[in-house]
Symmetry: C2
Subunit: 420 residues, 2 copies
């Protein structure tokens, strides 16, 4: 049954910090950067005192920064106290769920101007501790004692997918190549270079040092060389995994009636869905993510559109296989066709279904709580012709964001429309 919101909600500004490794900055520092960029992006300007509520996606500042209760602290840091400030935690989907709660709060009639934030500061801990922290997103009673970490989970899903559809594992590498090509054109990306440039960089370095020059003919050869791209958990190699990142992103939402007061060209949130699921072992199939399919159905029904109406999407490519599954869960391609679409370039910027023009989590970075909010930044940029060299051509009307927590215990999908 399609639900209707009591009133409409619009995006009127966005901002983000650079994603990367910033030992000298706290998460609140990074959020200040995002908020300052957001202030600039609101076309008609606004007074921060107008912000009535703040929803902040954050996975586990508890672990990463020894800090819970971070929402009112961050609100105070950017000067919007006493705005009602709430931390939303749904693991890697925290940002997307924060966006959804902000939308619902405005639709409820209680508030008109709401700030959405996402942030995570992950790189202060040593690597093994980061793995421990990320494992908190899985079931600590059943999944973690069984020896799983997240690369292992997604490797199991990739294996099931490849087996079920007799997919070519090269499709995974193609996703990584595409996302790095996009991220190379995004100066906010943690790895803003192509795989080819990584490859030629390594070749040049070898030459300078007088070492034998590896004779990789192309990126595919480079990515298949276990010395260049070591196996993490078969079939996932290093370049199939999104990085550990610091970063923050911010989005300003207002009620539909106020949209024109803030922006010449607001975006409207016309679809939203969220669904949950049990642990991976409880699912009938490992080769798809049911909660993502369900959340997208809810969003399409609310928007009254079909998957083919979506002009471009930012999806949760924590691992390359996740993007392929998402492209099916969201209905862009039939089941079992996602890997082929990736091979054939149909998800590239000039393809029929552009995915992750920002570079995605893979190249842009994955500061967990910020990722779902950062997706909206890319939607705004593409919709307003601000995406520079990675700008999509043609008229853009509908965009979709897809944010996943864990292996799909939480999925949240939003659809945005540009009306003029």
């Amino acid at each position: 049954m399609a639900k209707k919101l009591s009133r409409g909600v619009a995006v009127v500004g966005v901002g983000m910090s650079k994603f990367g490794v910033f030992p000298e900055k706290t998460s609140r520092d990074l959020f200040v950067e995002a908020f300052q960029e957001l202030m600039q992006s609101v076309q008609k300007g606004f007074n921060p005192n107008d912000i009535e509520a703040f929803y902040m996606g954050n996975f586990t500042s508890d672990y990463f920064e020894n800090q819970s209760h971070l929402a009112p602290i961050v609100a105070n840091w950017v000067g919007i106290s006493p705005a009602a400030s709430t931390r939303i935690e749904d693991a890697c989907a925290s940002g997307g769920v924060a966006l959804r709660q902000a939308m619902l709060a405005i639709a409820s009639g209680d508030v008109d101007v709401v700030l959405v934030g996402g942030l995570e500061k992950m790189t202060d801990l040593p690597g093994a501790k980061v793995t421990d922290a990320l494992a908190l997103a899985a079931d600590s009673m059943f999944e973690i004692p069984a020896g799983f970490t997240f690369p292992g989970f997604y490797a199991a899903m990739a294996t099931a997918y490849i087996d079920k559809y007799q997919a070519d594992p090269d499709a995974l590498l193609r996703v990584g190549i595409k996302n790095h090509e996009n991220g190379a054109l995004n100066d906010k990306a943690q790895f803003n270079q192509t795989i080819r440039s990584v490859m030629t960089g390594k070749q040049k370095k070898a030459e300078q040092k007088g070492l034998p020059i590896p004779d990789w003919q192309d990126e595919m050869a480079f990515l298949k060389d276990p010395k260049a791209n070591p196996m993490i958990a078969w079939p996932l190699r290093l370049f199939d995994c999104s990085p550990v990142s610091d970063g923050a992103a911010a989005v300003l939402l207002v009620s539909e009636e106020l949209a024109d007061k803030f922006a010449d060209e607001p975006l409207f949130i016309v679809g939203s869905g969220q669904a949950s699921d049990g642990a991976l072992a409880e699912r009938a199939s490992l080769s798809e993510v049911p909660a993502a399919a369900l959340a997208s159905q809810q969003a399409y029904e609310m928007a009254g559109i079909q998957p083919d109406d979506i002009d471009f999407a930012e999806v949760h490519d924590c691992f390359t296989i996740a993007e392929i599954m998402a492209s099916e869960d969201l209905g862009f391609f039939p089941r079992g066709e996602g890997w082929r679409a990736a091979m054939e370039g149909r998800t590239a910027r000039d393809g029929s279904h552009p995915i992750n023009t920002s570079g995605g989590l893979k190249s842009k970075g994955h500061p967990v709580g910020a990722s779902g909010v950062g997706q909206v930044v890319e939607v705004w940029k593409q919709m307003h012709g601000l995406a520079g060299e990675r700008q999509l051509r043609g008229n853009l009307r509908y965009a979709l964001t897809h944010n996943v927590g864990g292996t799909g215990q939480t999925c949240v999908v939003h659809i945005f429309e540009k009306r003029n």
Copy 2:
């Protein structure tokens, strides 16, 4: 400016586990107990599959149970997947804020039937680690390095209050005595005995062991004996502090249109407010909590009523001074009168402004994420004549709940109305 919700929201059922120390149970086990009691309390019955969304207040399962992303796990545990499941974290106000998000989600039109949960499993860690975990609710950059823990924060507030109003510190002890008298009548309370019975119990034990029998004449003498009630941080003694607890609570909300389908006597949420603030050191005064006053003003305006219309309230008495400040922040008594009202019994069950008939956090227990949800359980029980020996007399129409995070960085207030 008073806000109107786009549509009304009703409470149609409640449940809670016993609060206490349960080494053999996880937080999800405790929530199952709360949910089962809730199922029984829904007067006309319901199918758990009707639940579309789940908002779960939890402070830091990250620390206490090595588990983030707990909302979809708990949803799965009680059998309500794929309901959209979201963890809300605002320290000790997590439960009250979860209630508020659930209310806003229904008011938005997106969902009709929403489960609110609150849970915390705190007692698995050794005491010093619990203190570390609770400190995550304060500012880890500025407050914790200055040497503060929560008893210290509230001791500073108590000192400021006593100094400003020349208050009698005995008022603090009176709050504890009253809340234990109420909690002694609540079989869900962690400490369900009066201070007097604690005192006589110690006297009997001494007698049995042939030791000198302490000659405490009354509870006040007992509470002033530093051996019986040691000083924690002046003027707060052991019996001024709420305990470390395990527990869970659950509330079922539905849209106003559906209320009669679920309950013969639904309660309506007619007022809601939430506000944030900076760290304690940034405030103009330590003897009040501005965010609580602001949140209650929002709630009163939404409800269109005055503080004197409230028949009874559950307030956040994490320390006895917090209840006294709350009784002023909420407008029950003028500034500087709260301590006198406590001394004179005006907040007792037979007083003009009954507060914490459940026993409050002090006697009932304070499983952080559950506390704000547990308050609604008491409101339901009192409003439906189910409070047993602690039942308030007379016609009860309006009740208020007040939930505080940290030292007031987050405050959330709700007002409930019984209409028939």
